[in-house]
């Protein structure tokens, strides 16, 4: 993102203006958009270098790199918007590797005609999320596509972080006997989006759980427990995330339905729409797998953090070469919890 600002006669009209094709041209209009909107909001020493890439200090530790495109619809929803979501999502993907997130890049694909006021609101939300997380957006890019070739705005963020020595988290580290912990309730993000999309209203509003989890993760790592796996159960929900881990580690799992918290309005919305909350996306929750003797200590560390207040042990890892994830139900039965098949909720993140 070249942040060099040419001379203009007039400032951008952030109230009534709209994105037009010239904002993606590489010329004067694009430079103005970047300078007055993006660089002004993201404001940091790296972006201010004004080159096409950012020059950053040497990083101490193994690197982690993660990327996510965000195409959520609607762009604004209860509890957040595509802007903060795109910051939280990538910070979480870096942090669940055991890394301290250091830098983000952000690339925008804008649709011609998109209101600059909405873009400004989204960019402000990103900037605030990045500042709150202490992870600057150091470089970026902007492209514009014709009306009908995009959908308002898509945002791709990439994160870089460093893993301290001695930490090794990976989806293939789960071992039979390990405990499975979940940091809080499931389904909030997905049902916030879906209920808004469908125009559903409930007695209590459903609010997305979108949040940056690196603070919670740092507290968990600091507790000194033997963590094996961390992952944030986003698209595909808790069920798909656990199936991925089971497959990677070559183990089975037994979950306990009664231990998995689902907020009442989420449960009601899922029932109404015939959805299983186990498959609904989360954006501020994590799954942790640890050595069995460490589960209590890990649980205490999680519950001491605001984003882990409702943490619980939700199951155990089993020896099972087939990698089946099963669950004891509230009624005392047993069911298989398979991968998500087909499409449950499009454009959830």
């Amino acid at each position: 993102m070249n942040t060099v600002k040419p001379n203009y006669t007039r400032a951008l009209d952030l109230k009534h203006g709209r994105v037009d094709m010239s904002h993606g041209s590489g010329g004067r209009a694009m430079a103005q958009l970047i300078a007055e909107l993006f660089a002004a909001a993201f404001d940091n020493e790296y972006l201010a270098q004004g080159n096409d890439g950012a020059l950053l200090p040497q990083a101490q530790g193994r690197l982690v790199m993660a990327t996510d495109s965000h195409v959520v619809s609607p762009l604004f929803f209860a509890g957040g918007d595509i802007g903060c979501l795109s910051v939280h999502g990538t910070i979480n993907d870096v942090a669940v590797m055991g890394a301290k997130p250091l830098y983000l890049s952000a690339s925008f694909i804008l649709e011609e005609g998109f209101p600059l006021a909405d873009l400004n609101r989204i960019v402000e939300s990103m900037a605030q999320a990045a500042r709150a997380a202490g992870v600057p957006i150091v470089t970026g890019d902007t492209k514009v596509v014709e009306q009908g070739k995009g959908d308002g705005v898509f945002i791709t963020t990439t994160g870089v972080g460093v893993v301290p020595d001695g930490i090794h988290l990976s989806g293939d580290q789960a071992r039979p006997g390990d405990k499975i912990l979940l940091s809080g309730s499931i389904g909030d993000h997905g049902m916030a989006i879906l209920s808004q999309r469908e125009g559903l209203t409930f007695s209590a509003p459903i609010v997305s759980d979108t949040a940056a989890l690196h603070g919670l993760i740092a507290a968990m790592l600091d507790s000194g427990v033997r963590l094996r796996v961390l992952r944030d159960p986003t698209r595909g929900g808790l069920a798909t995330t656990l199936n991925e881990i089971a497959r990677q580690s070559g183990v089975g799992m037994m979950l306990h339905e009664s231990a998995i918290k689902v907020n009442q309005p989420v449960e009601a919305a899922c029932e109404l729409l015939g959805l299983d909350p186990l498959y609904v996306a989360n954006e501020g929750k994590l799954v942790a797998i640890c050595a069995p003797a460490d589960a209590d200590r890990l649980l205490a560390a999680m519950r001491a953090h605001p984003f882990g207040r409702d943490a619980a042990v939700i199951g155990e890892v089993l020896a099972d070469a087939h990698g089946f994830v099963q669950m004891t139900t509230r009624l005392g039965g047993r069911r298989v919890v398979d991968w998500l098949a087909g499409e449950q909720l499009p454009r959830i993140c």
Copy 2:
């Protein structure tokens, strides 16, 4: 990009299949698409970790991070496609900072209904470009949007590299007296896209110059000259790139039209369409600014590399607080070379 592969009954139909919404669900269909198409093509030890981010070795040197979204239309063009372009473009943005590119991430926004055969061709092209450049695609993401909410495929790549000690290149380093060098002809990429879009044919075909320039740049750095600025003149063309540098450095420039190579078919196409090649995008060219005494040595180093064969000194940096870029024309006159205003060529990269 989680590369864990669930069990399937059938392989992906890469001949007649199409992208559907389930390929973005986070579930079984997405996992299959990633495993059979992306992970198979990009194949490297980092991607094979199968987590949502890639764990990479510690990097020696200051980091550089650059990102670019690619929305080029058409997706396939003479000399390349969106796949290799997305690899080359980001490698170049990292390399012009003086960095050795180390890793790429790639994130895909696919439109429902897009042929898997085309996607496969694009991914193969990316994989080949990444292999040829020696820069692995270590992590990624895939999202799917409904038909009419995207345009086939958009690809966002992010690159990370390291800058060796002692190298400091930035757009604000140009000084009066410095020489301005260009690595070859201009306008080839933009006119290849545009002539294809408009259905124009010329006696000689116009072929995109898309290429990874980190090899050329390494040779230039190895020559030991005092390089001040490197930049690749993409969107907005040579004119806009030089205006950016002039603004950043607080200097003027005097270019010499006769020294700037424009291939004959590009010149003919520009004339026909009323375009100025100075503003047309390049994807395999670079501008270098160096201390005046080093220009000959730098020119020799550039000409010794296949991508710098047609390199030339095209002008000088002047003291000028207004930052004007001027040019002596072939006819002996003088003109101002301003920033690109408005939109010359939409969706060129």
